[in-house]
Symmetry: C3
Subunit: 212 residues, 3 copies
């Protein structure tokens, strides 16, 4: 199972790199900018998590396979841009698997060093979403996840479920599968039914609301 | 006194969280964005300080009370937005107490590991102001303190005074009170008399100037 | 030679601080904003590198001479703004020496703790360019090096050459000189002949292209 998580980790890194490179394309960055953006999108979340919990040096420093996965992602985006554009739905699927795996790996890494569950869940969510936050800041946008989509909330719920199930006799493998599926279903349902979060200023003070 | 500083630290965190949530409201962020912004505003400064001086893991990772203070701040802002709007003056008072306490705690934490006074003072100021800087970057604004108000300068002067008084027989408790009052007075006087800093390009090359 | 590198390190810090202060001037920041921007431009790259490779605390925390070099850079920019404006060409020269030295020091620092060459080269480039990236983000611009100039690529090539030559009998001193000259020549040639990198979306998918 650890092997499968490692493979999915690299797959997630690769898909996140493609999403970073595509963001660079829409902002007219050059190939260096695109590679940098892809890099930050792919490893930014895990990097911040490692810095915060004091896991030093950060993960990708000691394992260049992340770097190679990212370069591969950028090269493929560069060479086959029109095809990548058409594959949006497939990429969305892999992206959702990616955030699920990043969440689980982040929660696990935090629990190993005896961090409280509430903070560990946050570390899982940070691992999954902060790469995208830094990407958006670098191209001068207010981060997308601050305004739209049940994305981070899916990670928090999935991370919470993962910790909960760990205290049951459920096997680790099954727990991973349940958590990944839960995050995917929450995200897909939220997009399908246009469910978003309310805002501070909203009149009706509802936690969830319909997005447009 | 350490107890009082700890309580004021949590109060400062709570008030900074409210300021972050209010900034989110003016930018039409959703509740996740608001909570993230509140979090960054409240603990961002201390986090950067801890990373820079190598205090690992960063403070709030091992103590979830910061997280709960922040969630409380966001919840209250969400539920009682109009009341929070009216309380601006009270909040300003607590905010100023907050930056004073953050400055002192930052200076102290740096001095413990034998950092030079000049750098320790800077770490105090960083603890107090960098949360707001990161908040402004996240919502795509040039940080307010780069353009307006004697805010960081008050922290630097307060931090310097704190270190100076530590080398005198003045008791720690009294030193804290003097420092907090000094930072508050500098900030209030600066706002009252519209005193700001000059800019690189200014013709008259004066260090201070009247702001509009 | 280590002495010369240390001196060039401080000179680079000083010149980067001037570049940060000038950026502040064009954005109408006050003197605090200018000093902060100068600071981040000068030490930002090395700081991120130290955090990533786990060198703790970060370099300038234990050595206030960087802080003093930066304050000197800001003071001179403030007092002699028109002269600094006229010296652009000289500053460009020192700036290029600065990025070369920062690249070499970054690569060296990474190699000491046994990091793979590919990642070490990246750490060299990060040391040289990330200060400018953070500066641009703070004043709300998409980082310049994501769009223009063969700047980071020069650092990557120079860093690679440096590692390559280290495995030859060439003396360290000569290696440093060759690397610095290589980075300078690449950058100057790129500017002279307006050579830039292609973008993800470019029709012709060429790696290099003429910039306007």
């Amino acid at each position: 199972m650890d092997d499968i998580l490692s493979i999915l980790d690299i797959v997630g890194t690769f898909v996140f790199a493609i999403s970073g490179a595509m963001a660079a394309s829409s902002k007219k960055l050059d190939l260096f900018g695109a590679t940098f953006l892809a890099f930050v999108t792919a490893v930014g979340g895990g990097t911040v998590r490692d810095l915060l919990i004091g896991s030093s040096p950060v993960g990708w420093i000691l394992d260049a396979s992340y770097l190679y996965a990212i370069i591969a992602g950028v090269a493929i985006t560069f060479l086959f841009t029109p095809i990548i554009r058409k594959l949006r739905k497939t990429l969305f699927l892999f992206d959702t698997i990616g955030i699920s795996v990043f969440t689980i790996l982040g929660v696990e890494k935090a629990l190993i060093i005896d961090i409280e569950p509430a903070i560990a869940i946050m570390m899982g969510m940070f691992s999954a979403v902060l790469g995208g936050v830094i990407r958006d800041i670098l191209v001068n946008e207010i981060p997308l996840i601050f305004r739209k989509e049940i994305y981070a909330i899916a990670c928090l719920l999935g991370g919470g479920l993962f910790i909960l199930l760990q205290s049951t006799p459920i096997r680790f493998e099954l727990n991973v599968i349940i958590t990944v599926c839960t995050i995917m279903i929450i995200r897909i349902v939220a997009i399908k039914f246009k469910i978003g979060l309310g805002g501070i200023d909203d009149e009706d003070k509802s936690f969830f609301k319909r997005t447009k």
